[in-house]
């Protein structure tokens, strides 16, 4: 089984990099970026992630807009919203736009890996 590529998009870079490091320790190829533009840049650099962990509330382009950008680039990339500012409305909107799952921070790493694998298996 090839290692899954995970892109973490979160303006809290401290969180993103730490999570990326932990995922890396668990055999994933993980990369953390601080916003939508960097995420798009990463995608454009021909580094196609299998799963994107996306924060919802970010300065500039927010999570839902970023989701649209990712889906425009490659609809097959699975996106999981990982946010501290969750609401049912944003979850429903995300699902309608092709979101795979919606998880509230803070999350247990084991639980997160289960969801990542589910998403990656799609």
């Amino acid at each position: 089984m090839s290692t899954r590529r995970i892109l973490i998009v979160d303006d809290e870079l401290d969180f993103g990099t730490t999570l990326a490091e932990r995922l890396a320790l668990r055999g994933f190829t993980a990369k953390a970026v601080g916003g939508a533009q960097e995420a798009v840049a990463a995608l454009a650099a021909d580094w196609r992630p299998d799963v994107v962990l996306l924060d919802l509330m970010m300065p500039g382009v927010d999570g839902l807009a970023t989701l649209d950008l990712i889906k425009q680039h490659d609809p097959k990339i699975q996106v999981i919203i990982l946010t501290g500012h969750g609401s049912t409305e944003s979850g429903i909107i995300g699902m309608q736009r092709g979101l795979f799952d919606y998880i509230m921070k803070p999350v247990d790493i084991g639980e997160l890996i289960v969801r990542i694998n589910e998403a990656g298996a799609q």
Binding site: D14, E21, L25, T88, K105
Partner: protein, 580 residues
Amino acid sequence: MSDNPKCPLFCGMSGKDLSPRARYRCMRNSLLIVMLAITLIPLSITSGLNFIQYQQLLREDSQANARWNAESARATISAYLEKLQAAITVVIDSYTFEDLSDPQRLDQVFKRLKKEHQGLVDLSVIGQDGIQSAYIGPYQLAGKDYSDSLWFHKALSRRIYVSEVITGFRNVPHFVVATCKKDMHSGKYWILRASIDTETLDHFLSLAETEALEDIFLINDSGKLQSSSRYHGVAMDDFQLTRKPKQNDILIFEEMRGDSSFYRAVSRIQNTPWLLVLDQQGAEARKIWQVFKGRLFLTLTLCFLASGGMVVWLSRFLAGKFREADETRDAILSETEHSNKLASIGRLAAGVAHEINNPLAIIGEKAGLMQDLVGMDQDFRHKEKFLDQLGSLQNAVVRARTITHRLLGFARRMETSLTLVQLNEIIQEVLSFLEKDAAYRNIHVILQLQENLPVIRADHGQLQQVFLNVINNAIDAIRNDGEIHITSRRENHKTVMVAISDTGPGIAPEVLKHIFDPFFTTKANEEKKGTGLGLSITYGIVQKMGGRIEVSSEVGVGTTFIISFPVYSEGSEGQHDEHA
């Protein structure tokens, strides 16, 4: 001068510093006074006017009666005197002085006159010199000299004369009717005189006697009684008359005897020296007035009692209604305030939870990474201790996450997905989560669920949370060994209810009133700490679904939660939402 705090009138309408009890008592009293005034003042005024008018009418009637009686009595006496005067005038015109100086002739005339004229005592003939030349009567008066008598001189100067009451030579009260004539032969005047006793006057006056008549008598201008009086003595006694009529008038005026008033009618009897005095009962002394007063008093008393009773009842009824309305309004205000408080706290909680989640996630991930790294390093010196500390840190993160997620759940209570739900099924589902815990603590759950309970329209998940919270609280309250009774039934055609009673220690009243407030917890010092949001969330959910949650508790007996929801019916609101 400060405001009087002790129940001033009309304070019930605005007395905010009074206790509710005092305020409603004041309101009741104010209503009572106002309504009594509205009903009784017009009644009293009408009755008073009626009273005065009837009294006035009776007075006028009494005066008219007195006038009529006086007129009648005067006419009776005048008629008697005129008849007698006419008779003796005929006699004197028919005979000469010599004829009537004959005692036999005079006796014949006397007997004829006496037959027709009651009270005639004697008849005599007196010459111009005043010597009585002939006398027929019971007294020895023949030959008496009347030249010194006043009546004799007055009689000589008039054709016909009626004297005052005198005692004369006989020393008995009587009066004289005399007629005078000039003798054709001698050219001298002579007098035919008839004496009448005063009892005759008494007799004629007594004919005027009626129920309302108090006294009737005659007096002369010098204040001597000319007949007997019921109150003032007999003929020749003195009497003081305050007012006298002019000429032929009848004078009527009010006098007092003791405490009671009466009407006095005074009139002159023409061609006599007499004044007729008639005392008639005052209006107030009349029986008809007493009867009227009695009936008026009785009617007024009955009206006052009936109106008073009605007003007392009405004021109590209205004050009660005001109180009910106020209490309902206060309850609605209190519920609205509570809902608003919950909504505000919900928004605040959501904000706080969101803000905390991000740093919490960083702490969690950092601690997790440290755990990973330490776990992988076989040579780490204090590996066990580090892992233990990091585990505690992760546990703390999990605890904090639980709280923030609950806070968000509390904030999200407004967001519902409504479906048709069977309450009994929800209760069974919730019990399946809790039955192991209950069994472990030896708590018996006794179900009395009504079959075919109507469905309600609610959010399935949130409803689960409601019953989970309440039943979980019941288990926590009992701790060990006890019973939980869960009853469901249709309360009426609009409502279904579930009652959950436990045999726990109960809740003190001061705690009970805060039980639905957010962050109010009784489990702060317990092993299984509470957030103080459980019942608050429950309250919000139930209210959002159009239901009600009520709690009653008795310390030492237990606590009962009653949760009721409106029954779903076709055509009720919300049909457009998605449902099962």
